[in-house]
């Protein structure tokens, strides 16, 4: 049935008062959601930062541990270096001393430094010079001294002197403790 000349106007439950109230509540809710969102974001940000910090702290802890290990290794290396330096100094001194030991009239052709000994090859005009001028100091240093001579065509003698230090004494020498040892009597194979 459509009897009216006009159509009824569209009715809406959204009256101006209701619209105002809804707008007010929407704004309030919007602000609440924005605040909630902002706080959530901040919380998330803080959580992320916290996790990052924890990870960083863990990494730093690990780095510290690694550095500590490195420091320990370096310390060890340093000690080793020092020891080597010492050993080298000792060796240098020993070599210096060795060459100091060699008299003018004896000529060395070869010198082999062993861990616990010294092998010298050379030529000497005669045995006495060798015995008095070289073997005596060697005996004062090494515990065992063996000498071998080979006559040369010009009358001189080629010698091979093998000298050993006993283990205990060697260890003591390595730690820098110099002990005077009495040379034991050597045996001449000649």
């Amino acid at each position: 049935m459509r009897y009216s000349y006009t159509k009824p106007r569209k009715k809406s439950i959204f009256t101006p008062e209701l619209k105002l109230a809804i707008t007010f509540f929407m704004i309030t809710l919007g602000m609440l959601f924005l605040t909630y969102g902002f706080l959530s974001f901040k919380d998330f940000s803080f959580q992320s930062q916290k996790a990052e910090m924890i990870q960083k702290r863990f990494d730093l802890g690990e780095a510290i541990e690694a550095m500590k290990a490195e420091v320990a290794l370096i310390n060890k290396e340093s000690l080793l270096g020092e020891r080597i330096t010492t050993q080298n100094s000792v060796l240098k001194d020993s070599i210096t001393n060795l060459f100091d030991l060699i008299p003018q009239r004896i000529t060395l052709s070869e010198a082999s430094l062993l861990e616990n000994g010294l092998i010298l090859h050379g030529i000497t005009p005669n045995k006495d010079i060798y015995n008095f001028m070289l073997q005596a100091p060697l005996r004062s240093i090494f515990h065992k001294t063996y000498s071998s001579f080979y006559p040369l065509s010009n009358g001189w003698l080629r010698f091979v002197s093998t000298n050993y230090i006993e283990d205990d004494s060697f260890e003591n020498n390595m730690t820098g403790t110099t002990k005077e040892k009495t040379a034991e009597e050597g045996e001449d194979e000649n």
Partner: protein
């Protein structure tokens, strides 16, 4: 969806001669929870009326304003066919609707705009034609009778002749302004007679209406329609006029009431309309024996008597509350 949660407020406006009646009905799920009627002394809308209406429209966003069309350029046409409408009325400047595919009703588009403009502060949802109201009000009779149906408003008169739901003739008239020549002539003639009586003065004791109306009994038995010529003579009878006038005096203590004048004028308008119905060829003329009056303003018994005695019609008067009827139409329209 949420509409059922709200009250439905129907604001029904009936424009009278110098007043406006506003009937408001508040409905909750089709149950009337409140109804109120107020009359305001305005022909449009004044502050008091606006406040009264706003008081109720503020209660719900679902309010509907309905009004009974007051355009003097309205009417009804006995066809819905666009080709035939022009025979009866030029509808180029009119708004027209079809009633159940049987007949049309129309109103001036300009008047509709004017109505909408007048009631702009509250707006208008429904504008109903008095012919629709008439058809709905006498639905039970229109469907099965050949009769004339008249809606009497304070200012207007809407007349329609239906033959078993088929509209034969319709006319909307302004009781005060619209007087066609025929009506004017008859009115002037009768008014002259009345004035002469008034000038002479009326002695109530001298008047014996029953005696003077005795000869009317002869007319009561008239069956032959050819006797209508005699009716004209009967209509001119001074006795009947006197009788008519006497009753008025008795009822309202010696004053020639406006009601009488109006009812008489209404009668003249009806009479002229019937003459026009019978005379104009474009209307499917049929002899009308009965008239059903929807009395929306409280017409006196004189109109009934006049129609019965002057036109030999069987007159049936039903009281109609225009505002409530408009409300019913609005409710029906909304639920359709």
């Amino acid at each position: 969806m949420f509409g059922s949660l709200y009250l439905k407020v129907f604001i029904n406006i009936i424009l009278k001669r110098s007043e406006t009646t506003v009937y408001i009905e508040l409905l909750s799920n089709k149950n009337i929870i409140k109804n109120i009627e107020e009359t305001f002394t305005t022909k449009s809308i004044n502050e008091k009326m606006l406040d009264f209406i706003l008081e109720y429209t503020n209660e719900s966003p679902f309010y509907y304003v309905a009004i009974l069309d007051t355009s003097s350029a309205q009417g009804a046409i006995p066809t819905c066919s666009k080709n035939q409408i022009g025979i009866f009325h030029d509808v180029t400047s009119s708004e027209h609707r079809c009633f159940k595919e049987r007949w049309s009703y129309f109103t001036s588009r300009e008047d509709l705009y004017a109505l909408e403009k007048t009631y702009k502060p509250i707006g208008i949802d429904f504008v109903f034609s008095p012919f629709v109201m008439l058809a709905e009000f006498f639905k039970d009779k229109i469907d099965s009778h050949l009769a004339m149906f008249i809606l009497v408003e304070e200012k207007y008169l809407s007349l329609a002749v239906f033959d078993k739901s088929e509209l034969l003739f319709a006319r909307h008239m302004d009781v005060q302004k619209r007087r066609d020549e025929e009506a004017l002539l008859v009115y002037d003639e009768k008014a002259e007679e009345l004035h002469s009586y008034l000038d002479e003065g009326i002695d109530l004791e001298e008047i014996n209406p029953i005696d003077e109306l005795e000869f009317l009994d002869d007319f009561a038995d008239i069956a032959d329609l050819d006797a209508l010529e005699e009716i004209d003579e009967f209509a001119d009878s001074q006795d009947l006029e006197e009788e008519f006038y006497q009753d008025q005096i008795q009822e309202s203590k010696g004053t020639l009431s406006e009601g009488f004048n109006e009812d008489f004028q209404r009668f003249l308008l009806i009479q002229s309309s019937v003459k026009r119905f019978y005379s104009e060829e474009k209307y499917k003329s049929t002899f009308v024996e009965s008239v059903y009056i929807a009395d929306g303003c409280g017409v006196s018994q004189d109109l009934k008597r006049y129609l019965e005695e002057e036109m030999f019609l069987s007159v049936y008067v039903r009281k109609i509350d225009l505002a409530k009827q408009v409300c019913e139409l609005a409710k029906a329209e909304l639920n359709s």
